[in-house]
Amino acid sequence: MRILAGFLSGLVFGLGLIISGMADPAKVLNFLDIAGRWDPSLAFVMGGATLTAFLGYRLVWRRPAPLIGDRFDVPSGRQIDRPLLTGAALFGIGWGIGGFCPGPALTALPLMAPGTLTFVPAMLAGLWIGARMKRAATARPAGAPS
């Protein structure tokens, strides 16, 4: 049941990425190119997705717990700190170079374009490196106030 539910969720996400055009780096790069061939489509993808999630989350959170998991596990941090902003900036630069963010890159993998086959392993290595950097950045000496 968990496997089927996870698979279907991923399939719907991937279909959304393909139908919306977000799985096409050319469209993403043109969205980011306001001074050139600006294609505002991506704003509609983000808008449609965020509004749907905003309404859906509020319906879902009326229940005491998720259908399969034991509790709603939502990030509780509120502090806008340096790892968050440094990470987001690095991500934005990479996004602007290749036109891929993690979801579209994975969705594009079965089509096996050379650019995708180069991007995805580098991204996986980056996720590993970034996780270590984050732990190092957030680790505090013992006894220090948090």
């Binding site: 089927l4 991923g10 959304g16 780096p25 790069l29 061939r37 489509s41 968050l84 994975l106």
Partner: protein
């Protein structure tokens, strides 16, 4: 260095696809009680293969989610649809891009889906700050590559 392929403004398919992405985020919350951030899901799944600092340990549904994601283009092709795609062909640039996207989303705790869709839907201040930052960095990078260096 980067490709410049003209694309059409497609508001309706963008909106329709966006609604599906939002629906998937709602499914992940309703079913598993988790945020549907692809960087985080991938990190959690990777934790099965290599030690990942601070990654989630509920890996089964994450692998299934990624399998679903990978099946999407195959499903479209199977049912006679087309997946149009122009991936940049400068491989060193794509390697650098992938590395930055991986490091950035791990360090910044989220990507376009985790901070963008799910975070904004939760009205998270952290996510709003992250989205504003990666959008600004993305716009600036494309501007420099296309209009300063490439111009």
């Amino acid at each position: 260095m980067d490709l410049q392929v003209a694309t059409d403004f497609t508001p309706w398919s963008a909106l329709g696809g966006g609604i599906l992405i939002g629906l998937s985020a709602v499914m992940v919350m309703a079913l598993f009680g988790r945020i549907a951030g692809i960087a985080g899901i991938t990190q959690g799944a990777l934790g099965a293969l290599v030690p990942m600092a601070g990654a989630a340990t509920d890996r089964d549904w994450r692998w299934a989610f990624i399998a679903g994601l990978l099946s999407a283009p195959l499903a479209v092709l199977l049912f006679g649809g087309a997946v149009s795609q122009s991936v940049p062909q400068n491989l060193p640039a794509m390697a650098l891009s992938g590395l930055l996207v991986g490091i950035g989303t791990a360090l910044g705790s989220g990507c376009t889906s985790g901070h963008g869709v799910c975070g904004l839907a939760r009205l998270s201040r952290r996510s709003l700050a992250a989205v504003a930052t990666f959008m600004a960095a993305g716009f600036a990078t494309v501007f420099v590559l296309r209009h300063v260096i490439g111009g």
